[in-house]
Amino acid sequence: MLHIVNKSPFDRNSLQSCLRLAQPNDAILMYEDGIYAAFKGTVIENDIQTTLSKCKMYVLKPDFEARGMNEGNVIPGIQSVSYSEFVDLTVQYSPVQAWL
């Protein structure tokens, strides 16, 4: 199953609920304001590290570049993807749950 998260983890509870309900081997894609969870040095970096040991995590590149973030600061283990690869993820996994 694929979880897609578009909300900042500092503003909303969406990512928190996603992490609580994601199962091992699920994939999680962060996009829109959700991308802020994917960077080093934040207060939630540990939660992300923990999740990486059971789930695959992805972050949408056009969204994080728009917001002034760059690949070098993405937490290692999170994979940066394009819109095209976002589509691939929805093909690969089912169902897709949008944590709005």
């Binding site: 199953m1 509870n13 609920s17 609580r20 309900l21 994601a22 199962q23 699920d26 089912s94 169902p95 897709v96 749950q97 949008a98 944590w99 709005l100």
Partner: protein, 127 residues
């Protein structure tokens, strides 16, 4: 009825409180329309979505906040053979709610059970 084929599993995952936004009401409208289709339907109430089922909602177009109370519609779901209503225990407890606070009978499930249910779906409509 739509053309047949495999019966699909639809889950409506409700995470938002009623009235502050319209998502709860318009989600319920989808559920009611969807009932005419031959699908396997379940509703899950998670996070603030559990508030949608709170008993004793009191507002009308001419009183209170000026919106009609639509919570009684959840009671009608049974007539449409929609009887799989799940509430995540953790969401309920964090908000100080108990099973008897809900307007309809629900199954209280833990997070792991909810995860397993979600994984079985063909479609999750999240509101």
């Amino acid at each position: 009825m739509e053309e047949s084929g495999a019966i699909k599993k639809f889950m409506y995952l409700n995470r938002k409180a009623p009235y502050g936004t319209i998502y709860a009401l318009e989600s319920l409208e989808v559920v009611l329309i969807g009932a005419a289709f031959d699908q396997e339907v379940s509703l899950a109430f998670v996070d603030d979505g559990v508030y949608q089922l709170k008993k004793d909602q009191k507002t009308t177009v001419n009183s209170g906040i000026g919106m009609k109370d639509f919570s009684k519609t959840y009671r009608a779901l049974e007539d449409y053979d929609i009887d799989k209503l799940y509430v995540e225990k953790r969401s309920m407890e964090a908000r100080g709610l108990r099973e008897e606070d809900f307007i309809v009978p629900v199954q209280i499930i833990d997070s792991a059970q909810l995860s397993a249910l979600m994984a079985q779906q063909d479609v999750i409509l999240s509101f």
